[in-house]
Symmetry: D2
Subunit: 124 residues, 4 copies
């Protein structure tokens, strides 16, 4: 897997170069990038819009559908990288920090197989 | 920057462990993850909702606002990692592939400072 | 049902008055309103995020959950009204026009119980 | 304006007939409808994605752009109507209730021209 040898920084730099070559930083306000990320997230969602839970899992086994969904996920990630670039934010620090916070909020032993006391998925 | 030494795979593994420890894969259908990603993208957008373009750029200089936006961006990235895990999709390949496609779609010399012929941002 | 005696215009006027009393039209650019609508749509989605299809149907029978989802749907509608106000767009004309277009795009006899040839929900 | 003579119920009934004729209620779980609404909200947002605040206001004066944005807004409203139908929720009651709640949360005299103490738009 190429993910094993690719650092976050490498992808950020590729994105920064793409934007710089087109002189697009002028349009890359954090507001516009957050909007763009949300638009791409919706396009990703579209691939699963009318599917049952089982059908949505089956997308992983369909090369065409997987490639199509993968392109939308790539768009989401590109805007996440572009936003991290504009905000000069360390993404992996932010991710590790948030996971640590979530680990405290959702202790594994208490939330195993459920989200909370009022979790509808956990109820009988 | 920690992003320089962190591979995509490392963050994916952290996410996978977090999910496995809570036995949450049962809820992690691609459909639910795409929805969750879109929800987090909207929460990120909320931090810029009423800001002018300039005010949105200024978020990078405000430590509190930056940290708050960074947490939402981390949530977005976490769901992107979880979805890549469920779909067994190489994220960096997908990102590089999409950038190559976009480089053909938007040749730098033709799209410098604009998005297209009908780009309202480019109009006089 | 109060919906039987309430015109679209009446709700639009209520929204316009609410905005005018607070001098908020200055923030109500179509861009900001479209963002706000998308944010509220995501908050609405949150009420169904981890539910199975069946659990999501059961929300209609749970007064508390229904009221909570109803508030988010109201927020969505309020921003739709505010946007129609700013754009000076007749909403019911737009809705009727779009339904007529969709009726041509999806002839009832051909799309009964399915969305299209490649509709994954229709496939055996 | 056709909005003056069109009741919410009339549009709901049109939507219900459209769905029934195609036997699509089976796909109209509240979860799917909330997702669909969010997808359409993102498509609406796309029309304003790269615009400055001023350019986004100018959309109201451009017949083509206005019609295009109006179609997306109509899609949003259609899914809002479909969801109200599935949840058997009175939309105008929900809207009036939410406006009353917001009127208490944002008293006009205190929030004139601003959103709150920490409103970045209000800060000098």
């Amino acid at each position: 897997m190429s993910d094993s040898t690719t650092s976050i920084a490498e992808l950020r730099e590729r994105m920064a170069a793409f934007v710089a070559e087109r002189d697009w930083r002028q349009f890359h306000t954090p507001k516009n990038l957050a909007m763009s990320l949300a638009i791409e997230a919706a396009e990703l969602m579209e691939h699963f819009q009318w599917l049952t839970p089982e059908q949505s899992r089956a997308v992983a086994q369909s090369p065409d559908r997987l490639a199509a969904a993968g392109e939308e996920l790539a768009d989401v990630v590109c805007y996440a990288l572009a936003l991290a670039n504009e905000l000069e934010l360390d993404l992996s620090d932010a991710v590790r920090g948030k996971m640590a916070k979530n680990a405290l909020k959702y202790p594994a032993e208490r939330f195993r197989g459920r989200f909370g006391a009022d979790d509808p998925s956990a109820s009988g």
